[in-house]
Symmetry: C2
Subunit: 145 residues, 2 copies
DNA sequence: CGAACAATTGACCATAATTATCAATCTCAT
DNA sequence: ATGAGATTGATAATTATGGTCAATTGTTCG
């Protein structure tokens, strides 16, 4: 199985783009995290390795990393774009606690199946999908009792 | 059945807020549209009735209209918050065409049922949920053949 | 009705995330 | 090693949205 770096390399080459030091550094950092990181999160982390890197470069790198199929943008409705893994990670959805911010990841084959049926019914070719439920998590319910 | 205005009136009163001319004007405009409008869309429309109204007032009015349960925020990933009806409208999800921007609304009891099961399984009390599928609509597929 | 008082408004400024610009630098096929 | 073209970092620009505050308005109560 190909490594994430190989995938990025291949994507870049086949699109006439270059494999720069900065892109590799951003990818390295991104691969290490398992959270839903903002650009700023990643910027702070990558700066520990490369103090000179610019914020815009992190934006641009995550853009190509997404385009290469390695990362996925998510949006939890706070005003900041977040990134999570897409390669070697199961497709999933999110429960978002509006009290504590906790994010629970859920996967459901039955849900996926219904999504496929709905798309087919409307003759829609789906390239990306997202489902989120916002509410109160178990822990927060306990606390408020 | 209560009118939307009655609901807003009641919500405002029970929260110590006032029923202002501007709030009524924004609600009137919002009720007339059946699209997914941005604040700016609504601002342009309401200005035809009240040229003096401020943009911030439209933001603030839509906030209370949402809080009153009459509108719902949606986000299609373009950089602008959108509003749609919540009162006397069935809960639904969206298919978003990334070619032409068309938005198809879908309702699915089976989907809702699975959502409920997933929430229950994780002991999550859901207050708001959203599901979107992005892709290519039927019309756009036809065109590109 | 007509204060009284709190809530709201409109104008404007502040903030924050993201994108555009561009000269200097880097990458990579040759 | 070289050169064409891509990328970078700094910075400015843009955009959506929220905050401030003096002037105005809505509601309650006498
Ligand atoms: Mn996730
Ligand atoms: Mn809708
Ligand atoms: Zn919680
Ligand atoms: Zn389309």
């Amino acid at each position: 199985m190909k490594s994430a770096k190989d995938i990025l390399r291949r994507y870049l080459k086949s699109n006439g783009l270059l494999y720069s030091r900065q892109r590799e550094q951003v990818l390295d950092i991104f691969l290490k995290t398992e959270k839903h990181s903002t650009i700023n999160d990643l910027y702070e982390l990558v700066r520990k390795k490369n103090t000179k890197i610019g914020l815009a470069t992190v934006y641009r790198s995550m853009k190509v990393i997404c385009d290469a199929g390695l990362a996925r943008e998510t949006d939890f409705g706070d005003g900041a774009r977040r990134y999570e893994h897409k390669y070697k990670h199961q497709h999933h959805h999110h429960l978002v606690c509006i009290k504590c911010g906790r994010i629970v990841e859920i996967a459901s084959p039955r849900l996926e199946q219904i999504q496929r049926q709905l798309a087919k019914k409307h003759d829609f070719t789906v390239s990306r999908d997202t489902m989120k439920m916002f509410g109160i998590c178990r822990a927060c319910k306990r606390k408020s009792k």
